[in-house]
């Protein structure tokens, strides 16, 4: 063990985090849902559920179905709308000492721009994450599967905000690096990889799709190898920090992503299995660094490439 405590802090496109563990968008609500269980201020950052400009009802149930070592979800962005989030949700979360990353989800470029302006002006967001990869919304994934559209969107939002800008990449593409490069060239300060994989499941008794929305996003341990491969490729393709996510269940999984090139990690579905998992991973990373005599967690970023 090293005598001084290892430095877990990392920097994501100008946003300084006290440790690299984030709660991923959509699995952690607006943060406060979990505040009763543990000090959410112990997390590196909280990415709130994808915000839509206007209130939305979401998809019809069932919205979730289990698959081998994973789950499919098709929530469909049930949402109170941007103004309600700024007025009611963010002030509550802002009482905790943790950076807030707002995940933005629009239907068109001008919607993303309007969202970015609102959250920049409100002064409560520390960074913005562009959700260009939601599989549960008509056209939701269109931006994220086309390099030109991704570039156009990122450029437009870039002009509308001076907050650190993160683009969340979809794995449902032939070459994720094309989209990654396009987002970075257009001004994205960092990239998140990955969003869920598009999937489905059929009830053989009723002979119908199990999800109300037919298709949904696959998450959980089942997708970890795919996510890790994406992070590896994106790390090699761009210079900006990568936030790795997809099936992270414990410290060892988080370390794999960091070694593949992630500067920070997002913990998502694991919260449903173990609601305190993200703070346990923070402690686990601290322990790993201590046991291996590392002064800083950043010494591990991308080490598996060398």
């Amino acid at each position: 063990m090293s005598s001084s405590s290892p430095d877990l802090s990392v920097s994501i496109g100008g946003l300084k985090l006290k440790n690299p563990v984030m709660a991923a968008s959509g699995t952690f609500g607006y943060g406060v849902e979990y505040a009763e269980l543990f000090d959410i201020g112990a997390l590196g950052a909280i990415v709130i559920k994808a915000v839509t400009l206007r209130p939305r009802e979401g998809n019809r149930p069932p919205r979730v179905v289990e698959t081998p070592a994973g789950m499919l979800n098709a929530i469909g962005r049930q949402h109170p709308g941007a103004d309600a989030v700024i007025a009611e949700k963010l002030p509550e979360l802002a009482k905790h000492d943790v950076p807030i990353i707002v995940n933005l989800s629009g239907e068109a470029i001008d919607e993303y721009v309007e969202l970015a302006e609102k959250f920049t002006e409100c002064g409560l967001a520390d960074a913005l994450e562009l959700n260009v990869s939601c599989p549960n919304v008509k056209h939701g994934m269109v931006f994220g599967t086309c390099p030109e559209l991704t570039g156009e969107l990122v450029r437009a939002v870039r002009r509308a905000t001076d907050l650190p800008l993160i683009t969340k990449l979809s794995p449902n593409v032939t070459d994720i690096t094309e989209i990654a490069v396009s987002a970075v060239e257009a001004g994205s300060d960092a990239l998140s990889a990955i969003n869920t994989l598009l999937g489905m499941s059929i009830d053989v008794q009723r002979r119908r799709p199990l999800l109300g929305n037919v298709t949904g996003g696959l998450s959980g341990p089942a997708i970890k190898p795919v996510a890790l491969r994406c992070v590896w490729q994106v790390y090699e393709a761009v210079e900006v920090p990568v936030i790795g996510m997809g099936g992270i269940m414990d410290t060892s999984d988080a370390l794999e992503f960091i070694m593949a090139g992630a500067s920070a990690v997002g913990v998502g579905t694991a919260h449903f299995v173990n609601p305190t998992v993200s703070v346990e991973i923070v402690e686990g990373l601290q322990r790993y660094c201590g046991e291996h005599g590392l002064a800083s967690i950043s010494d591990l970023i991308g080490v598996a490439h060398s």
């Binding site: 289990e66 994973g70 173990n274």
Partner: protein, 272 residues
Amino acid sequence: MVSEECRLLTNEPIAPDHHVMTLATSQIAKLARPGQFVHLRIPGTYDPLLRRPISVMLAERAHGHLQLVVRVAGRGTEIIAKTAAGSLLELLGPLGTPFPLPGEGGLTGEGDVLLVAGGVGVAPLVFLADALREFDPPAYVRGLFGAANEDMLVCWTEFAARCDEFYVTTEDGSAGEQGLITEALAGQLERGQARVVYACGPVGMMAQVAGMCREVHVPCYCSLEQRMGCGVGACLSCAVQAAGGGYVRVCKDGPIFAAERLDWEAIAGEQQ
């Protein structure tokens, strides 16, 4: 709400695919109120992945003992039901909105309390009947219990012991009156003097109970089940259709709902 690792004290098979499990908790039993549930982690595996929401049947505050009825409905509940006494299980709870008790939530009227259980839906109503016994002034409780057959009248002695009057129906006539519990409820509602009806069972049953109560202007509260993710209101996986449009979360807004808050036709339609 707390997250606890709890020792499984006993695990008794009580009927085909039904187990009563008693767990030693430090906080959850003390905090639990009738209608609330615990989110149980499936031990030792990520396949299946998600926790299973299970209603609390009884909470002994003095010893911290929590009793659950687990019905084996798939691989997840099968693994939980096979857990040996002495093992540790991870519980998150108590979760959800409990039943409003008479005197709460505008339940100020006079009259009897009717509890309508269908099969394993009896669990939260045993807890509720237990709480009503200690009520001041005492509530007069009429318990109604329906199931497919005698075997599926799980925990009926626990339920009956806590009711002032007790009625049973089975679909095959192997116990009590042959028929559906909603037929027995019709007779009980005709008697009048019902202040409130609490129901838990299959969605089709509860939809009918809700409709019958609406006709005679008796408040009705139902306990819902749904595929669930987080259990704490964050992920919006367990949404069901609300009356007048939109969705409510079973884990946080429920599992107990005033019947008129829900769109029963839509909810029953999903489960067919």
